[in-house]
């Protein structure tokens, strides 16, 4: 039987109908709410493509069951981080550095970096690399991503 679940996503409270209270958050965002930012990459929390912010913390939405999302917890996806008119500084830096090839991993790179920079001022290059150590990129965009995060850190 469908159950109703209330979520706070990108500043809006939305209600979705689900069959399984343990469905991962990722599918609620992508399939129920038609968001494109968080992506399915592994379903195992290994690659980072599905990263979203939950109360400002970068989390792997593919392994967060909806039952673990408490009422009122604020979920932000790549779409909610910034807009074309007013991109988040990390997004602006990624665009300026052209830090995407296929771009499939970039959601995770931006979301992880934004959460990292929010709690870390003036990071070293090694700090940035460590912060992104569990975000995988296959195209080899690492150098451009690093440049972008450095740029955002300096902004």
């Amino acid at each position: 039987m469908a159950i109703s679940k209330s979520l706070d996503v990108n500043g809006r409270t939305v209600s979705i109908d689900i069959d399984d209270p343990d469905m991962p958050l990722l599918y609620a965002l992508r399939d129920n709410l038609a968001l494109h930012g968080p992506r399915f990459g592994c379903g195992l929390g290994q690659c980072g493509a599905c990263t979203v912010h939950v109360d400002g913390v970068a989390m792997r939405s593919c392994i967060v069951p909806l039952s673990a999302v408490a009422p009122g917890q604020k979920i932000v996806t790549l779409e909610g981080l910034g807009t074309p008119e007013k991109p988040h500084p990390v997004q602006a830096a990624f665009i300026a550095e052209q830090a995407a090839q296929c771009g499939y991993c970039i959601n995770g790179m931006v979301m992880e970096s934004a959460a990292f920079l929010a709690r870390t001022k003036g990071p070293s290059e090694a700090d940035i690399k460590a912060a992104l150590a569990n975000n995988l990129c296959r195209c080899g965009t690492h150098a451009a991503i690093l440049r972008a995060v450095k740029r955002a850190a300096a902004a």
């Binding site: 599918y27 992506r39 592994c42 992104l132 690093l146």
Partner: protein, 745 residues
């Protein structure tokens, strides 16, 4: 952010285009200001897709917006932006006025699959010739209209007028919305290098902002109305037969629509994605036991023992066998290169819809025209009844699982009579995409008394076949018609060498089979073969006690000045210190070294030289590539930022493949089914990259998507040898292997 603000980019929305051709035909009926003799009235007939027509490749609408139709697709490399840049320049219209339609079998020509670093070199150049033909015809017509000699006309932003000033006529006025009906003229004059305004300039990619703002629609995001979600249940072992399915085992999952079985092909279709995932996960099945794979611990014995169906002699100079028997110092070595998976971050995904006896297939296939033939074959449908559309997906780096997902979706959609989206799981992708085959190479040489190469012989043990259609997993499982030959790509390339030795024989022993269905993964064959050749050459230089750069220069064809310039510039860029390898190893815990390598891609195009600097941790065997230098000559550069991104991608991806990657398997199936068991390079492991591009505006544009990857494994091996005196001959250079090699040295 910079150039797209004022001019509308697309005559039609991408979404409308993706929904099929219906919307697009309207484009040819647009009643813009009508031209005269040049264009005939647009008709409802299908747009041509044959390679000899200008209309195949481009159209200009009533507002002067240019649409180009490319058979080559953007696999996330930025080639769409580069194509637009090329054509905008050739036509003298603003870049933002150009839209690119890619990989739609109803609209775009078959320019071959998007592989082999050929998108600009072949595909782009072909469209550029169509644009040059169009431009020339428009100038001829404008000359008549304006009463000005053609030679005195110039084009500014799509408006033709006298150079000296005066009335102009626009492309839109001349042709807007109608056909050129012109044969592509191979001799139509293209711009002179000095006249390019956009080509050669760094330009921002058009897709990047949307990708970073979460507004891009990947194949994995694409949806069609009425669509269901499908998942395939792959066998637990290659060749296993499906003996029983207990459909009742998932009856309790809300949303399950149908379990689809055809032979050993099994899928679950559901009304929502999570139900499909749960259904595929929980469905109780019984499969026969199947053990078709060799023992991984004895893989190279297996490869060596595989039946050879033919020998391809890829070069034969002098009499290598006789020269090998002559006096001198004999060296021999064997190199091997592991089986690799494509490792797309987004697993393959496709949607299929049957309507009125016709199939529409949306996928991220790098070869929609070939996919169309394959789907038609599998489903016993006429090709005309199959329409394949490309939707950009996660990067594929070759023929991964995108086509297989398309076949899965087609079978499921046919069975349920609704559109079905199939999204592969991580394990599907790692387990069932075709693999880069294991490669084994034996090399021998005879050095004369001065350390010169008197003879070079090499044998490559590689599967038979070439580029072609890779068999579809679903067709195999369902027992439906399928491609029968294996298609690993042109993996014989770069088995021959760019060095002028007096006696050379290089031969590829083409093996009847290889343990996993092969396909091409970035730089197929060229990477493995260059690795063995460039490492072994380094062995010879070391044996001769000669600096490895000097050794290479000594044997390059003096007439091949571009190759020599690449190496000369590389020596300066990397501050190459002239001395033989290995250096005198210290006793420290960390040993440092540098290695050089060189490749002329397929011996006919892009030149790359590279130097790797490494640190080897003696106690653990961990290799760190600290810095990597590249000098690159791909002729005319369209977008230097694009070339740099490609070089970066080649280096990082191949450092990953070289140091870390190896498919693992038991006797039945792949066991490296996730990122834990098939690790790839992470941020803390990336080298600093220093590169220099050589731009040659007067030369042909050559590919940049693969060549740099060819030089990475050998550069690292040569650097490790320089650091430690130990030669690594087995990719990947994992810490365990390196440690063992150091201890046995």
């Amino acid at each position: 952010m910079t150039m797209q603000d004022t001019i509308p980019r697309a005559a039609l929305s991408r979404r409308a285009l993706l929904k099929g051709t219906g919307a697009l035909v309207v484009g040819f009926h647009l009643a813009g200001p009508l031209g005269q003799a040049l264009a005939q009235a647009g008709s409802a007939a299908a747009k041509p897709v044959t390679l000899d027509q200008v209309d195949t490749f481009l159209s200009i609408d009533g507002r002067g917006l240019v649409t180009i139709y490319s058979g080559k697709v953007d696999l996330g490399t930025g080639v769409q932006s580069a194509l637009a840049q090329m054509i905008a320049d050739e036509l003298d219209v603003p870049d933002a006025r150009v839209t690119v339609i890619q990989g739609d079998t109803a609209l775009t020509p078959d320019q071959g699959p998007t592989y082999g670093s050929l998108s600009l070199q072949n595909g782009g150049v072909q469209i550029r010739q169509a644009a040059a033909t169009a431009r020339d015809a428009l100038l001829t017509e404008a000359a008549k209209r304006l009463g000005v000699a053609k030679a005195d006309l110039a084009v500014v932003d799509g408006a033709i007028g006298p150079r000296a000033g005066g009335p102009t006529v626009t492309y839109a006025e001349l042709i807007g919305g109608r056909r050129f009906d012109l044969k592509l003229d191979p001799a139509a004059p293209t711009k002179k290098p000095a006249d390019y305004k956009l080509v050669g300039r760094a330009m921002a990619r058009r897709d990047v902002p949307d990708k970073i703002l979460g507004r891009f629609t990947y194949m994995q995001d694409f949806r069609v109305p009425g669509m269901l979600h499908g998942r395939v249940v792959h066998p637990p072992a290659l060749g296993a037969r499906l003996e029983a399915v207990d459909e009742g085992s998932i009856k309790g999952i809300p949303g399950i629509v149908q379990v689809v079985r055809q032979g050993n092909f099994l899928g679950v279709v559901a009304s929502n994605e999570w139900a499909a995932i749960r259904g595929a996960r929980d469905l109780k099945t019984t499969w026969s036991k199947s053990e078709t794979l060799p023992d991984q611990a004895r893989l190279w014995e297996h490869v060596r023992a595989t039946k050879v169906v033919k020998d391809d002699v890829t070069s034969n100079v002098g009499d290598a066998a006789a020269a090998m028997r002559g006096e001198g110092r004999k060296l021999a070595a064997s190199y091997d290169f592991a089986i690799h998976t494509h490792g797309s971050i987004g697993p393959s995904c496709a949607i299929a819809e049957f309507k009125d006896g016709k199939l529409t297939s949306w996928s991220a296939s790098q070869a929609t025209h070939n996919l169309r033939k394959q789907l038609a074959q599998m489903l016993a449908m006429p090709q005309e009844a199959v329409h394949c559309l490309y939707v950009e997906g996660s990067g594929c780096y070759g023929r991964n699982g995108h086509e297989d997902a398309a076949a899965d979706a087609a079978l499921l959609a046919r069975a349920v009579g609704r559109p079905v989206r199939v999204q592969w799981s991580r394990a599907d992708e790692h387990g069932w995409d075709p693999k880069g085959p294991p490669t084994l190479i034996d090399l021998r040489a005879n050095l004369d008394s001065s350390g010169g190469v008197a003879a070079w012989e090499s044998e490559f043990f590689i599967p038979q076949g070439a580029a072609g259609n890779v068999a579809l997993v679903a067709a195999d499982l369902a027992g439906l018609p399928n491609a029968t030959a294996i298609a690993p790509g042109g993996i014989h390339q770069n088995s021959a060498i760019p060095y002028k030795f007096p006696n050379v024989r290089t031969v590829c022993h083409r093996l009847e089979t290889t343990p996993f269905k092969p396909s091409w993964i970035r730089t197929p064959g060229r990477m493995q073969n260059t690795y063995a050749n460039e490492c072994f050459l380094d062995e010879l230089a070391a044996a001769a006690g000669i600096d490895p750069l000097e050794y290479r220069l000594k044997y390059l064809d003096p007439a091949d000045t571009r190759g020599i310039e690449v190496l000369d510039r590389l020596a300066k860029l990397a501050r190459w210190e002239k001395r033989p390898s290995p250096q005198k190893a210290g006793n420290g815990a960390v040993l440092k070294g540098r290695g050089i390598t060189y490749c002329k891609y397929e011996l006919v195009r892009t030149y790359v030289g590279a130097v790797a600097e490494v640190e080897v941790e003696r106690a653990t065997g961990v290799i760190r590539v600290t810095r990597f230098y590249v000098v690159h000559d791909c002729g005319q550069i369209i977008n230097p930022d694009g070339v740099k991104a490609q070089i970066e991608g080649n280096v990082f991806q191949t450092v990953s493949r070289t140091l870390k990657e190896e498919l693992t398997f038991d006797r039945g199936m792949v066991t490296s089914l996730d990122w834990g068991s098939y690790p790839i390079l992470t941020f803390p492991e990336i080298p600093e990259l220093v590169m220099e591009l050589i731009d040659r505006p007067a030369e042909k544009p050559w590919g940049a998507g693969e060549p740099t990857a060819a030089v990475v494994p050998s550069a690292i091996s040569n650097a490790v040898f320089d650091a430690t005196g130990v030669r690594l001959r087995s990719v990947p250079y994992t810490p365990a292997k390196v440690k063992a090699a150091l201890q046995s040295a």
